[in-house]
Symmetry: C2
Subunit: 454 residues, 2 copies
């Protein structure tokens, strides 16, 4: 039987698949800093080579205004088979702070059941799972047409992907998009994600004096820009954790009672879960929503970075000339990232004092998305997961943002099936990012079953 | 006449004095970071060598728990001459941000009438002015006994100087301390400082999750530590710029009507002056006090540095695990730095939410000081300045902190005469620090006259 033949191939080649993933992880393909431009190119070529090795055709590395997109396709061995467009990204988040890693982030290291490296879970591990599941299925006779589109700008908001998709509509034509850039609720809890939050990312700079000043000589007559920035940030939430930008909640779709009930059906206690995962002394957020609702169905505003003045060891008595904050909002349906940028500007215009100057850079934006869970593809994946784990998958709203899901819908009319085989303690975007290898191997198995079930 | 002989010597050796200052400025003797430990030692030895070169005796580099203190003395050529203890420091502030300097900070460069380098004004220029004024006076027959005590920890709050002074009371015995670590209100406005603010310096760290988190997955359930820090900082001032730490103003000595009148007598418009010096769009601070009162006679709380999360180029969607602020207070009589540390702790205990953890490091402290302007030494300096500039000096309260002034008073019973020859646009503690050379040369002349007038 082709399915069992493909599953046996997975088992037989398990060690080689891990070695290939490690080679992929050794390339520090950080997309946000210019210094890694060569590594980005190496990672793109590495993916193209791997596609050729598993028998893909029309393999090409397409340049964009930013980082290239890799494409390749494999035909089904039967007539009239459906076409799956597999999405992935080969870029990774920066690895800083480096001193908190137990192994160097680009020297993948297995400890226990986990593989530690930047990108292990997000998402080189998932890209490899897809490539190797297709390789295994193809070994037994590929039951579906598969197209791969692997981009290099996901971690910076996919600024050039929409343009690429629009220019290559025919090449990318498919019946469904498989997007394994989501994750699982736990090693025994296969998960299908049906909603994602959108993203709006900003850099706010507050300018005070023309240059740093001696705090003894000038302290008392100038508004310290670090203080002014802190005052502006503090005002962006009220005492209940509600965001104060004017109009911010106007378009937020209210949660129905039915959906609140469904979200409450979880195999664990979410408060205990989040306390354990984060190590914070107490959870925080809008008291009228549960933690699961707050991370999945409510918008947020986070400070991702903060800088001003002297931050080295020791003391320097300076009034800084400027202060900077990186600020991002996770958005829910039907918020619009451009509108949110306007709301932040309106807040700043209303609250920034005349004692300072400010500038706001709007860096990236993507709307939220909700997908239909009653499609044949979602049903096929659910069946594949049940056959692999022996339990039905959970359906969840995820707090993260995957701009491509909206783009696939808008430009290609394609629904995405969202899954992935990383775990909540995989330290995505954090030091000691890791991949639970038994779950990763089950994920490949589930993907093989999915291709045969479509 | 010895005085005119000494003044002629100043003129004749003007180029050499500048070359010596440049050599001194080339040593990056930054006291706050461990990496400059060798440079600190070089700077101390450089001062000792210069003392030997001008004929000083008992020259020694005394080790302390931190950076060494340099001592040397020159005897008067007459009997029963008074003894002047000249204070100085050979350490400098860090030079960062380096990219804002027009020349490298430790490659002194003359442009126009100014010499640009870290420490040019604060205070290697002043140390050299004192050494070279004594050299010139000694060439004509030194009319006073002079002792030099040049420390290496002023920019980090002089933690080891009080111990050194207490251990060497006999060596340092004198009639008055000359402290040229203050400055002038303008090139034509010689200035004597009669009051200094004290200092209390802190590092506040706010801890949230155990490691950085993905803001999509966890945004909405944890209190972002950068936001929590901003909220704590924002609450440290009220809307009138008044500091909210409990009891902060309890000991602040009210300004008398007489002193307010005296402080209002200035040769310039202070608002226009501060706007020009700082480039801010509008001044800030307690509305019931004038700018001069706010910088000289009122305490402040400043944010000297701010750090959290991702501050590189680009975007990273992270909830930082911690946030840090460097905070310092300028204190006025009769505030106590230890008490202020307790007030900041009390504020944090009252206002820090249970959703985060915090730590406060108390880094340095010194009380404020006020000196008597009716002493013979102050009168001698005033006469020397009038003879040099053709105008009487201004008496002012300065916003900066010089802990040694209080220590000289408490341990040695010595009043300090506070002056200096840097200008307000000398960019102390900032990029492009500079020394106005014509004023520096007049300063040496005034010091020579001062020694002969004592």
């Amino acid at each position: 039987m082709p399915l069992s033949q493909a599953l046996a191939y997975l088992k037989d080649n398990s060690d080689r698949f891990l070695a290939e993933l490690e080679a992929f992880l050794r390339i520090p393909s950080v997309s946000t800093t210019a210094e890694h431009k060569d590594d980005i190119a190496r990672a793109a070529n590495w993916v193209a080579d791997n596609l050729r090795a598993i028998g893909a055709r029309k393999v090409a590395v397409y340049p964009t205004a930013g980082h290239p997109v890799v494409y390749g396709e494999l035909p089904a061995t039967r007539e009239n088979a459906p076409t799956v467009l597999v999405y992935g990204h080969y870029d990774v988040q920066p690895a800083e702070p480096l001193e908190l890693w137990e192994n160097p982030p680009f020297e993948p290291t297995v400890r226990g059941e986990r593989l530690y490296a930047r990108g292990a879970t997000d998402m080189k591990g998932q890209v490899m799972a897809s490539l190797k599941a297709v390789e295994a299925a193809a070994h037994a006779g590929l039951p579906v047409n598969v197209k791969f589109v692997i981009e290099g700008e996901e971690e910076i908001g996919s600024p050039d992907l929409a343009g690429f998709i629009a220019e290559h509509k025919d090449l990318l034509a498919a019946d469904v998009c498989l997007n394994p850039d989501s994750g699982m609720l736990g090693a025994d809890w296969p998960t299908i994600t049906y909603a994602l939050r959108g993203l709006a990312y900003f850099e706010l700079r507050v300018y005070g004096p023309e240059h740093d000043l001696h705090s003894g000589i000038y302290g008392g007559v100038v508004h310290n820009p670090a203080q002014a920035l802190a005052e502006l940030i503090a005002g962006m939430h009220d005492e209940n954790g509600r965001i104060t930008l004017p109009g911010f909640y106007d378009r937020v779709r209210p949660l129905s009672d039915e959906e609140r009930k469904a979200l409450a059906k979880l195999p664990f206690d979410p408060t205990a879960f989040y306390l354990k995962q984060t190590g914070v002394p107490q959870l925080w957020g809008e008291p009228e929503y549960t933690p699961i609702e707050r991370t999945g169905a409510r918008p947020t505003l986070e400070i991702n970075g903060l800088y001003s003045g002297f931050i080295e060891e020791g003391a320097k008595t300076v009034i800084p000339s400027y202060a900077m904050a990186k600020i991002s909002c996770r958005l829910v349906p039907d918020q619009d990232p451009d509108e949110v940028a306007g709301q932040l500007k309106a807040y700043l215009k209303a609250h920034a004092p005349a004692t300072i100057r400010w500038e706001l850079d709007v860096m990236a934006g993507a709307p939220a998305s909700v997908t239909d869970i009653h499609t044949p593809a979602v049903k096929a994946l659910a069946k594949a997961m049940e056959d692999t784990w022996g339990t039905q998958p959970f359906y969840r709203r995820e707090g993260g943002s995957i701009p491509v899901v909206g783009q696939m819908q808008q430009i290609l009319g394609l629904d995405s099936v969202l899954t992935g085989f990383g775990l909540p303690d995989g330290n995505l975007h954090a030091p000691n990012e890791n991949l639970h290898l038994p779950t990763w191997r089950k994920g490949m198995e589930a993907l093989v079953r999915f291709f045969f079930a479509l």
